[in-house]
Symmetry: D2
Subunit: 340 residues, 4 copies
């Protein structure tokens, strides 16, 4: 069986395993004060080219939940794509903190400045808006849940609308390595850091064993964030676990390199899919490739390949996903292409 | 100026004022144990023809918030029309208690059994549904926010789907008197009580000074509801305020009669609107009438009439609302008709 | 039976009932924009001698809950007396909003500046305080749940400690009329307004039918408070109910006069209790009098008087409460004294 | 410098590191369906000798928060020792979920059946208890935050009171290995599982890199617990991280052995402390030893040893803690004893 089902099937990048092993018995402070966390934070700050407050948590839903709940006021909600992770697949983690998720209709997994602007215009134009949830933040994913990318220009436009309506901008980077590793990506860690108030750098799906690095470039909104992390259950006593991983990921360009491995494999598969006449569901430049297949194709493929099932369309065809990762083997890619 | 702007512009039905005045210095227990609350509950139970647990709170958002938060589990959300009061105009009161509001596209303010069923089928068919909010309740309004009515048959169908998917059924009756007072309404308090697990009988918009009566016919779901009311800030020390009002409202058919007054006025206006060629936005058999007007009409009308503005349509025309009530004066109705 | 069981047994002050009756059919805007609310707010501002933002809600727990939840940050808690209403008798209304109630040991229902200071010193001295709930507010009641009063000097000292540790100061005035009506009270509405960031003026227990007036003299902390009220279920559509009541209460010194009626009756009872050798549980200068009785006395009294039971002491004796109010009849007081 | 400051200074037990390394590139399902989680759960069930539902989360506060919030009803709180972790050092994580923590005065870190019974008796005897938070659960720690142990008899008594008052019993086993590894401990995993409705087996402080295993022996209370974990941010995509660790910890008696290593070192230190005339703050049979020192002793010790500071007593002396762990080196213990 070939595995193209997700990007978290393996353990961790060998470089991280080595660092874990070699540091295992060193005695370290906890709760973020270990030498690895300190070093990792410096490296990330260097990479984004500006000062920031950085915190590590163990997973993506946790990152989204704690960031959003910490910065929104009681009466504010967060605007997201209707396909956004917080809107669908986090079991109401955001609502559980008391905040509404406003959903905008997405196109290829993305929302745009125009849609956000219209939403805010309508909100403030409503004579009853004091009886309604105020928009307080915009949540985007880079890359999106459908593998697509926001261009730098698109982010700039969204940033501009956010400033106009006093919305904070938060980017979920659960798969950020696969954006940075894509040749079609014109946003860097630096530009994301410049344009967002806060974002997170995904580890779990990008070669780490677990963990995400939350980066606040807007330092006004993260006062006592550690205590917020604690009360939401997001603080690890042994913070070294996070420190070691991100210290290695941000040494020698490893993070971007891991992303590139995944994207290169995906592009190879994408070219094969196109050549063989498969219908792409959308045009993804990153590690997730979505195609439309009929019953027969789906059944046939599933004999030899583990892939993701997304939905059945109105025409009866199915959207499936091939997902590569930092750990994808070129041999497996070749075998998959043969089968296609 | 003629006032057709809402159904809460005046104080209370004179019968209630009289009862308040005559009982004013009688000494009563508080927190629901006063003689008026006890009497009112008996009258309501008689009216619905079955046993029930009944509680009084001071407003509609409070009723919705406390009922929903009390009966849902952490991981459950509530299904509502996208035009439902809890979805739009309660400032996130439901999300504030940790629960997601799922919205279904409504038609004339209503959702139907088919839509609820499809939603649940899709939910349980999703392989990832354990990562998603579970549907736990259906919220409907009778009449709806657009004045329309669920027929008994429609409620029966919704009830059936709810049973199938273990959803509780909750009816918001903020304007229930105007359903009961409508000749097109084939649901009675009895049938609503039979088909819903819990509903509330609106006072604030139906002739009371303030307050709503929450009726649990499903007694399994309201254990310790008093304490839930307390912790959500919904308990009144002087419960007599509620008791007196609902005791009077449910004496001598007053509640339905107040509703009929409002609906009769609305029907008279509706007939005039139709005769004079106005475009009805939808066909409402209750106390709210929605019409589509152009800029000129809107401006003209606003010189002499206070009415509600709902929204501007894509064609540039406006949806406005004439709202009657238990207090609407026939003379005012005639004057309005002259102006139209 | 004589009723000295609480201060919410009757309806409302006759002046309020008159105003309700005479204004009943006038058409008013809702949600706080009615002419009575506007007038009442002006009168209260005049009374406190400074600008303020004022909001009306229907009950005390609601006032406490919404104020505290609106101004505290996620990681902050509120300091209260261990006998404070929010700490004991609100069914966890504060915790329900996500905030811890820190309790300080009280003396005669009061806490003091020294205790608050020690609490904060210990908190900030703790090396692990980032793992702990931050104190963010001090909650006091004037008069307290035991009828005692904070002196102006005590409030000034508490205010000073609050400033030192960046704590907001909030006074629960559920029975404020009985403080203002006491000859031993050296705090006025003006001094309370000067020394607290926010307080509420109790209506329910002080002659209103229902309702409390929340007064923010610190206007920095109540931005969008209306929307907070809405989402916590504390907004009344028919705000006139509140407006009329507080407009009357703050006309012609009625509020203080109602308080004085209750306190005068209580003082007469207190003198009789002392003369007849009853043991006072503590020295209360307001409308609640607590005495210690044995089994026999308790049983005997309960034959003719309805009073409150507080607790059984370790020596087997009982603390009971005689509570007077704005509605207490002098004849009843005389009858009680005869029985004692 | 000698490190006796806590039990989470090092990485993980070498056996776990080996298992992580050897399994690193194996492809595994996520979200709890990996082969390691399945195997670990079987081993734990075998160890406790009964069926159970088992879940893994990344830290102790998370375990406490999710368990408590998942099983309590809105109007219920949890009873804990005033020194309990949830009462002091979790930044209000429990209150953040809407629940009050009731604190009972502890003795040596423990509460007892008598105290719980009195609390419940008083609660139900209070005529106003419907206005108060209901006790719904008892939280204990085994060993406690002060290193002490509940005996089997004590747990049985607590269990009995819990049954009587319909309270769930939850044991926080953050340091459970150090209970199991103590010769003075007469509770086994089996007896804890028999007497508690739910408990967690601590990994983070007991030799794992991170993580805790939540064990529900009362399966009625954990329906949809996975979704609760998700919405509280406690689900790891790469569940293998947890599975591998607990699979190794519960192979060949490793978990208990790691605990014994820590306890043996602590007992050696305890004997030396006693011989050298140090004042023990209390008598701890596990890996945490608390002693009372004066300023001079504290300063002297701190030159060569990193230890924990707990509090300064009223007599000016200080309570400090020496903490050993699975990773404590015998050589370091000897060096410490020389210094004492």
């Amino acid at each position: 069986m070939l595995y193209f089902i997700n990007d978290y099937s393996e353990g961790m990048a060998p470089e991280i395993l080595d660092a874990m092993a070699s540091s295992n018995m060193s005695k370290q402070s906890g709760y973020g004060d270990d030498e690895f966390c300190i070093s990792a934070k410096e490296k990330i700050k260097k990479e984004i080219g500006k000062d920031a407050e950085i915190f590590f948590v163990s997973g993506g839903t946790q990152a989204n939940k704690i960031v959003i709940a910490s910065v929104l006021k009681n009466f504010e909600g967060v605007i997201a794509a209707d396909t956004g992770h917080i809107a669908v697949h986090e079991a109401g983690a955001i609502e559980n903190t008391g905040h509404k998720v406003f959903t905008l209709k997405s196109k290829d997994g993305k929302i745009d400045a125009g849609g956000i602007k219209r939403f805010c215009e309508n909100f403030y134009a409503d004579v009853n808006h004091e009886h309604m949830v105020y928009p307080g933040m915009v949540y985007i994913s880079q890359p999106t849940e459908y593998g697509t990318l926001y261009s730098k220009k698109e982010l700039e436009e969204i940033n501009k609308v956010c400033k106009e309506y006093e919305l904070l901008l938060f980017a979920d980077g659960a798969r950020l390595a696969y954006a940075l590793g894509s040749s079609e990506c014109d946003t860097s860690l630096k530009s994301i850091a410049d344009l967002c108030d806060v974002f997170y750098i995904g580890g779990t799906k990008c070669g780490a064993l677990l963990g995400e690095a939350i980066v606040f470039t807007n330092k006004d909104i993260c006062k006592h964030f550690f205590t917020n992390m604690k009360l939401f259950g997001g603080v690890l006593a042994k913070s070294r676990v996070m420190g070691i991983q991100f210290d290695v990921l941000f040494s020698n360009g490893l993070y971007e390199r891991l992303g590139k491995t995944g994207v290169d494999a995906a592009m190879k598969i994408k070219r094969a899919l196109t050549e063989k006449g498969y219908e792409l569901y959308l045009d993804s430049p990153t590690n997730q490739q979505f195609i439309v297949v009929d019953d027969l194709q789906r059944e046939k493929l599933s004999e030899n390949v583990a892939f993701g099932f997304m939905e059945t369309l109105e025409n009866g065809k199915h959207v499936i996903r091939f997902c590569t990762s930092w750990a994808t083997d070129d041999e497996d890619v070749n075998k998959l292409i043969e089968i296609l």
